[in-house]
């Protein structure tokens, strides 16, 4: 069973519905027992970074421990940004530090937030994009982005006047800046790929 971490934050329902829609067994929970027995964890998120890390509270350590024990973890949007060490959105905040890098504002000189459908170019061997055509469109909605500084991480990029990291993969840690649960068929395929990584069945 895939456990979506319930931390009182926007859009958790959409992520659960998308996993159910592709035929996955999914549960919304922040219970230590559920996190321990889950085949994989998902950290969703529509919120500002500081609010999100505070709302995550004691579940942060549980998620970090599980990720340290090689349980697949998928962070989405702010959940993805939480994977990094720190953020400067509305203040200075520490993240989970699972992937090296920091969350900083998208540089000025373009429309902010970066909101809408943009093409993603994955690096070779990124499991979330397995079996997909290159240059699929995904839905983005964010004002900050993660500057990845982790030599062990594979990174997918989108063009927003600069190479904006759109997804990462570091061992069992996965994250997407875009919303797969809101990106139509291509997004659902990303979630199916994550289900496969977790050893879960899907349609």
């Amino acid at each position: 069973m895939i456990v979506v971490i319930d931390y009182n934050i926007g859009n958790v329902r959409s992520v659960c519905k998308a996993f159910s829609h592709i035929g996955c067994d999914v549960k919304l929970s922040r219970d230590a027992g559920d996190i321990d027995t889950a085949s994989a964890l998902v950290l969703p998120g529509v919120a500002a970074f500081g609010y999100a890390i505070e709302a995550l509270g004691d579940a942060a350590e549980l998620v970090k421990d599980a990720a340290g024990r090689a349980k697949p973890l998928l962070g989405i949007c702010v959940g993805y940004q939480l994977l990094f060490a720190k953020s400067s959105e509305y203040g200075q905040y520490a993240g989970l530090g699972l992937v090296e890098g920091e969350v900083i504002p998208i540089p000025p000189g373009r429309v902010i937030p970066h909101m809408g459908w943009n093409k993603v170019k994955a690096s070779a061997g990124m499991d979330l994009f397995a079996g997909m055509d290159e240059n699929k469109h995904f839905y983005f909605a964010h004002s900050y982005y993660a500057k990845v500084a982790d030599a062990q991480a594979k990174v997918a990029y989108t063009d927003y006047g600069f190479d904006l990291p759109a997804a990462v993969q570091k061992q069992n840690i996965y994250g997407t800046q875009f919303h797969p649960e809101k990106s139509g068929p291509a997004g659902l395929q990303v979630l199916k790929n994550f289900a496969r990584i977790a050893g879960e069945k899907s349609d």
């Binding site: 329902r13 919120a47 459908w117």
Partner: protein, 207 residues
């Protein structure tokens, strides 16, 4: 770079989608969940649902509608109508909406935009503006509130810029003059609002 988006915008009254001309003469256009799913299946990039009755009683129905839409539609959607507090944002985002739009409440209390942006991120915060060409000055547009029924003295272009500074990530601009006339976008208005702004003006109306 970003792809241009096609965003059907559905006005909802008593749990039904309605269509009108210049905000008047509303007629029934179908079930919001079914229509949302049909638009999504046929390639829409996003959807907008606006509860144009926006009474306390209708808020409960709108939450139920949002939950049903979220079960069937896997593209982003915005919900608006009668939103007055960050708690209203919270309920709708938790029910599955991606963004929430505010109109009258933001005019009455502009800090609602910054409060919501600080808590949920500005990408969730949409400022809806109903614009009508001023009868006194044809080069200006005035902001109308309460579903277009009350004109104000606020200038649309200034209000869009201010709303963006306060935290709105998107402007949902409706031309009351072009609404429902099938005469195409009010590009004069759109260009005026777009000029000198940073936010991605999401333009709605007409046709």
């Amino acid at each position: 770079m970003l792809t241009r988006r096609i965003i059907p915008c559905l006005d909802v009254k008593d749990n039904r989608v309605v269509k009108g001309v210049n905000f008047l003469n509303l007629r029934d256009a179908g079930d919001p969940v079914e229509l949302g799913k049909r638009y999504s299946d046929t390639g829409a990039d996003e959807l907008v649902f606006l509860d144009i009755t926006a009474t306390i009683r209708s808020r409960k129905t709108i939450v139920e509608m949002v939950e049903k839409v979220a079960e069937n539609v896997f593209i982003p959607f915005t919900v608006g109508g009668g939103i007055q507090t960050v708690e209203h944002f919270d309920v709708l985002l938790r029910s599955g909406a991606e963004k929430v739009s505010v109109n009258t409440a933001a005019v009455e209390n502009p800090h609602l935009l910054s409060e919501a942006a600080e808590r949920f991120g500005s990408q969730c915060v949409v400022l809806a503006i109903d614009a009508r060409r001023s009868s006194k000055d044809a080069c200006r547009w005035q902001v109308c509130v309460k579903a277009g029924t009350e004109p104000t003295d606020i200038d649309v272009v200034e209000w869009a810029g201010k709303g963006e500074k306060l935290g709105a990530g998107e402007i949902l601009l409706t031309s009351m003059d072009a609404d429902g006339t099938r005469a195409g976008y009010d590009n004069e208005l759109n260009r005026a609002v777009r000029r000198g702004r940073k936010a991605g003006a999401s333009l709605r109306g007409h046709c």
